[in-house]
Amino acid sequence: MVRAKLNRRAAASAVARRRFRFKYVWVFLVPSVALILTFYFIPVVLTFLISLTDMDYSFEWNWVGLKNYIDFLYKDPWIPKILGNTLFYVFVTLIVFNTGLALLVSLLTTHINEKVGASIRSLWLLPRITPSTVYALLWLWATREEPNSLFNWTLGLFGFEPINWRLEQPWLIVILVNGFVGVSFGMIIFTAALKSISNDVIWAAKIDGANTLQQIRYVELPMIKWPILFVITYQTLSLLASYEYILLTTGGGPGLFTTEVWALYIFDLAFRQYGGVVKFGYGAALAVLLVILGVTLSIIYLRIFRFRELMTEPKIEVS
């Protein structure tokens, strides 16, 4: 009886094994591979090649060797300013909003009524999913120079004179606009980490007489150390490559390059040289350098978080 059952099972699995040999894997893969190869991988290679030319809108390949990279180092007078702007923008936004405010929001919303907390957290998703042009519009209106814009009207309530925010406080706008979008990522990661802390630990702290602040300081924060480091590294890279909201609000101005960051400079070199010449070659060189900076940071990131574990072959596989 048992043996018959086993035999039947063995036969079935033999049939199955034959069917598992699937020769048409390529049907599943070809469309994606073709797209990614043509419109993602080849552009990567092309960027390196274009960075060795002085290509402009005529799309001619005039090889100039490393000239663009030498220009970057010695010729372009704006590089120190743009580099400084980029570091300022990335780290202030990262520390104040993407990590700091994100941590504050997750700590506060996990310590109040759970439903209220969850609704507040979901509201923080709104800026991220709002189309960028609409989101920028909200801020552009709030910071208009007229006395009846939201910012100036609020100042007026306290008896202050209206300010032309975009001219006088461009960095404030850039950082607020990006910061309010940037909170959600860290907030979600931190909240998940805080919720996964075992209740036993929290209770133990409470029994030992810790108040809420001590409980946060000595129990919760140390236990979410890794998520915090993860958010810091990951968001550093994201911010480094971001420029869309700056383009939409200050446009890198006012004046010359006041709030211009690296990524925006690349875009401008290629697409916004009003009346001047576009510089695809130099822009591509700056793109390559931005990637090198990013990759250097990524390597650290991969080391810390052991991404290799994600790449292991699937456990169950029949070929």
Binding site: V15, F22, S32, I36, Y40, T47, F267, F271, G283
Partner: protein
Amino acid sequence: MPSIARILGSVFSYGLVLGITIPVILLYILLFISSFTTEMDGIFPRDFTLDNWMLVLRGSISVPGTEYQYPNLYLVMFNTFLLAVSVAGLEVILSSLAGYAISRFKFNGRSTFMGIILILHAFPGVTLLIAIFYILKTLGLYDTLLGVLIIKVALDLPLGIWIMKGFFDNVPWDLEMSALVDGCNRLQAWWKVVMPTVRNGLMAVLIFGFLSGWSEFIYILAFISSQDYWTLSMLVYAFTSGEYFYINPGVTASIAIVYMIPVVVFFLFAQKYLLRIQIAGKGIT
């Protein structure tokens, strides 16, 4: 009985969290109010009017005192919708096919493919704009929505494949095994048995793709030059940038609200997917 310190503490927590959250919401509420008035004074509307919305319903927007005519609003909405739906559809289909293959099959170049997907993550969109411009020009896809669509899908796909691979990895092998034993072939097993169990992943990729296509701005700005192919993002940008012509803030607000509709719908009814998308890596800023 709660101590006074405890009550004070929770009042403080609520106060603080509302204090930092209200500015986010306020901007959206003001946008909504602006669409029903000619002018705002801080948070108060000056009057009530439906003119803005009537103009939006008519669809043709011209700039007073000039010859300039913006592209018809319905055309722009159609373009936006077409782009969003195609991006979403293609991303769901392609990423579930490739994600399944990577999750389940051993084939030559599997690790290479996965490695490339990871490495490509190091090349954010901005670094490839110039090369993509070159390719689109060469292929004759510059200034077409098809070009923008292809670029969007290609650049989003690695993430989509990665998300779907994760979902397929969680489907127990026994499920497919029983389907195969019952006489399905691999394609049938994938379509009839496995795909329904990864519904959540498909929804996440679908919503991600739709929002990504619906909101796209940079590629439209960079790779579209005819106004016939504008999407709503370009229209709203044109209203505010001054590169074209300024338009009445009330009308701009109404169109911005139209633009927000799908976003709000997803926000209200699909929040669990939005959270998943966020974690999966749409952490752009």
